[in-house]
């Protein structure tokens, strides 16, 4: 039996996916800005943040409304709680895109370019893939796709560690570019955190579909 409530749930899902696609757009722009040294793009990221922030409030508001008015149970309840948690992760992801753009806009672009931005772009590639797949998994309720997301985090963490070690070494060898290298460390941190939030989303999808909590491997 189709319920009116299903329309509300569908609308909520669309809001979350809209927010997801904005967050993806922001990361893409932030990374492109870094590669092309394009400051206009960093400003676009700042502008998009407003829309994400509005959606952040709106999604929570919708979730609270649905819980209070419909007292959802079982899969409905799991969907709504997952939407609330994914909402927070997406907002944090957008913040990382903004932080990365701020680093570029206020610091990195004011210095001489260095070729080592590849440390960050490699990580960004993985983070973007993880985020895309976690959102696809949410959209399609695809547990297998969701399960593949945390597996990619290991590579991301390895790259982060390597970037940190290599950049510290570079700072020691060539202190004249220390400012740029510190910026790259900050950017790599942003990319790594985006991957972590994508893992959270994937774990929430698994809980939403299967009712099984796989966080922290308990």
């Amino acid at each position: 039996m189709e319920r009116h409530f299903d329309e509300d749930l569908k609308a909520l899902k669309e809001l979350v996916l809209r927010m997801g696609s904005l967050a993806e757009d922001m990361i893409q722009k932030a990374v492109k800005a870094l590669i092309e040294r394009n400051d206009a793009l960093t400003k676009e990221v700042f502008q998009l943040e407003d829309e994400v922030n509005h959606l952040h409030v709106e999604v929570d508001d919708q979730c609270l409304k649905l819980i209070a008015l419909h007292q959802p149970m079982a899969a409905d309840l799991r969907f709504i709680t997952a939407a609330m948690k994914i909402n927070s992760d997406l907002e944090r992801i957008a913040d990382h895109a903004v932080n990365a753009s701020q680093t570029c806009h206020y610091h990195l672009f004011k210095e001489t370019p260095v070729p080592q931005i590849s440390f960050v772009t490699k990580m960004a590639e993985i983070s973007q893939k993880m985020l895309k797949e976690s959102l696809d998994a949410f959209s399609k309720k695809d547990v297998n796709l969701a399960k593949s997301v945390p597996e990619q985090d290991e590579e991301e963490n390895r790259l982060k560690k390597q970037a940190l070690n290599d950049l510290i070494e570079l700072i020691q060898k060539d202190p004249s570019h220390a400012k740029q290298f510190v910026d790259l460390i900050l950017l790599s941190k942003n990319m790594e955190r985006i991957g972590d939030h994508a893992v959270n989303i994937a774990e929430d999808v698994i809980f939403m579909v299967m009712g099984k909590d796989i966080r922290h491997r308990f």
Partner: protein
Amino acid sequence: MNNISKIETKALDLFYGHFQALKNIHVSIPPQKITAFIGPSGCGKSTLLRAYNRMNDLIKGVKVTGEVLLDGKNIYSSKMKLISLRKRVGMVFQRPNPFPISTYENVAFGPRIHGITNREQLDNIVETSLKATGMWKDVKDKLQISALALAPEQQQRLCISRLLAVEPEVLLMDEPCSALDPIATAKIEELILELKKCLTVVIVTHNMQQAARVSDYSAFMLLGDLVEFGETKEVFTNPKDKRTQDYITGRFG
């Protein structure tokens, strides 16, 4: 699971004439917990509840096979005395049904039947039973007034007090709040939660939020089958059977 069951139901079939109302029911009711039976009208939940103190025996043409074990003893065996069974397993109904006598006499009724005549002892039982349901302070000065003059919630409390007076081990509740307003319902739910400290409670309810709020275990029934039984938290957040999922999310149709 026998050692942790207050009531163990084994292969229970129940027929009203040719109609099979319960089909091969296996379920263990844990002691000092609240177990809720949920399901659509006609699913057999009230019939199963009534099977636990043999209330169905009063219906013409009923045939029961299988076993219901109370502390390991089959209540359908010829050795089980009905009066003693119903003293141990009391029942509260949808509509409060106080006797048309005073509040005091309603509560003293059971103990008198079981042979207590000493006035002081009866006074004590009446006071303790009315205190247990939280209505003593409201009625202590009007114990001799007809119970029918009480508000519906107080009447339901009185019916529970009347059961407590004979110190039952199990309380069966068949939609105990459906005739009450939301405030009275909330108060009775609080009382049910209090009672589980010393009693095993089995409640039939159409109100799923009520089942979710008060029960420790839930059983979902459909067309005479027990579809799913488990911890209430699990049944309401992650039901295993699609039929349970459809029912509790209101998709049934």
